[in-house]
Symmetry: C2
Subunit: 350 residues, 2 copies
């Protein structure tokens, strides 16, 4: 589809409203048109169509998982993804990390006055596609507009509701000494993909974000009867921060084998140029699973059968001491303590 | 408590971190400190304390209501309220308008680099107080920081989960010809309170926002056996936009008696100065209820027993024609058609 043809797909006439104006958030006709024509018509679903203040959902009895995330990534579009995909997958993945089956999303949009209508339409289409891929419904939403200069195009918030259908307590407190740490694939791609665009870096082959929905591999582990102790996606702060957080919460030690942690050659190179450590770079489609040693090999096989975790590897194990500490054993056999960053390495990557 | 004493209550040492910095959203130690010390410790609750990616909730079987709203009010503090109260009551009220009993909130914060830490602490305390008053738990949250100039202090998003324990369909499609329209109190205070601060208007007695949680009067109606057909809170776009929306969705006409719509003298005066029509001014603690004529008087009595709806009045009725049209009968007996605004009257009042 040509650029011009694409523009014609936009349900708001771009000639007439080339940009978002304050009135698109003012509660009047313009806001209703934007919501009805662009959002409700695109995302579909009965709950949304009723256009009441909240969506009504019938939920089977049981445990629910509830999560929320705001998305402020800059730029809005980057190799392998965009803010719309992040907003769906990020929240779906938080649900999956509780072992929950993601069902419903809410969508809050904070638009900046002057944002091109066409850009908004691209984001909306991306949200729709991502929701379809992740198998969730966007059931209710809200739109606000802030003055020019008081936002950055668009900020999104999604909250997610999922059903928990297992009896496990998937959380740091379930982690046990001896547990095996499985990493679902290579790390560092999302953060580097975003930073490369921002810093204007050129690579021979562009590094694409790993952003992807993770419920499928998690459900596969549970279906296979793996007694999953803890799951964590490796977003802000990367693999290092996630593991330090778990080690501290669980009061255990972790030992990682550096050679087993997959990092693409291009990502390693970009990290050297930018002065980053891949262990701390954000991912949006990677997670760690803590499982009993007796089930580790089966778990790896199950994960490798799913596309998004085809590169699953055992990368370490849980030790009794020193509690709260993550040790990284290097190629040459030396060990160093991995700490959480005190500040930020990469601002606004999600 | 003196200003200095208040500052000492802030769990983040203000001397050391007088403002929000990018690292407070970076996924490292600083972010964890902010979340643990300021948010988790203040809002409390077991779900939040586990600090996992999502909260796990046990929900009795049945219908759930789910809603989301972002809050971008400017200024953050105004007579009678602030962004924290709005973020709790606004979302709780959306749940109440489905006849749902509000249970849980999520909280997404987008902080601007450079925001005074003390201001953030004031907002957090206000969120806590409002959640207590509304009887809801903040169970999960997320914090992002955007660069200086790319936000406006703080934007909040709350999503809400509520239980529906009645068998009614409280929605525009349940509205019937003959239904009585009850308004829960005087209108226009919230929008005018915010605009007065923004425009530097001085009144003899300051106009306070009406912002308040509305689940109590709704639950009282349901407990009293009132067959509630539709409920709607009168936020952006005010009473006029809410009624036009319902008339259009339900395909019915509405006739309102202007003399029965309570507006404070000070609000009327401020509207004249600012060139606003109180019918279109936003409220944050007012709603309309559509009930069968046979139950209207009882419903008014029930509402008047609740503090937030003590000024409840019958203001109009549902007619067969003309469908989708709201007619306002004036003091002198003339009628005019009330339309939805095309754009915004008051930007960023919620």
């Amino acid at each position: 589809m040509s650029e011009q043809e694409f523009q014609l797909t936009c349900p708001i006439p771009i000639q007439q409203y080339p940009t978002v104006v304050m009135a698109h958030g003012g509660g009047g006709r313009l806001m209703h048109q934007l919501i009805d024509k662009m959002f409700v018509a695109t995302f579909g679903g009965n709950a949304l169509r009723h256009r009441h203040d909240s969506a009504t959902l019938v939920i089977p009895t049981g445990r629910l998982a509830l999560t929320t995330d705001s998305y402020v990534v800059r730029p809005l579009f980057f190799p392998g993804g965009d803010i719309g995909k992040l907003a769906v997958y990020g929240t779906v993945n938080d649900l999956a990390m509780s072992g929950a089956h993601p069902l419903y999303l809410t969508l809050g949009m904070i638009l900046e006055e002057g944002m091109p209508m066409e850009t908004l339409w691209r984001v909306v289409l991306s949200l729709k596609e991502a929701a379809e891929r992740a198998g969730v419904q966007i059931v209710t939403g809200d739109t606000k507009v802030v003055d020019r200069g008081k936002g950055d195009g668009v900020y999104l918030n999604t909250s997610g509701v999922g059903m928990i259908t297992h009896d496990l307590l998937i959380a740091p407190q379930s982690v046990q000494v001896g547990d095996v740490v499985i990493l679902s694939g290579d790390i560092g791609r999302h953060g580097i993909a975003v930073m490369a665009v921002r810093e204007g870096l050129q690579f021979e082959s562009p590094i694409e974000s790993d952003c992807a929905p993770l419920a499928e591999p998690v459900m596969a582990l549970l279906r296979a009867g793996i007694e999953v102790h803890c799951l964590r996606d490796l977003t802000r702060g990367g693999l290092a921060s996630a593991l330090v957080e778990i080690a501290e919460s669980a009061g255990v030690g972790l030992v990682l084998e550096e050679t087993r942690i997959p990092v693409l050659e291009e990502v390693r190179g970009a990290c050297e140029i930018l002065g980053f450590d891949p262990l701390y770079v954000a991912n949006e489609g990677r997670f760690v699973a803590f499982v009993p040693p007796s089930q580790a090999d089966v778990a790896v096989q199950v994960l490798r059968h799913c596309e998004v975790s085809a590169g699953a590897q055992i990368v370490g194990e849980v030790t009794a001491s020193p509690p709260g500490t993550v040790l990284l054993r290097s190629v040459i056999g030396t060990s160093r303590v991995v700490d959480m960053l005190s500040g930020e390495q990469l601002p606004r990557i999600c």
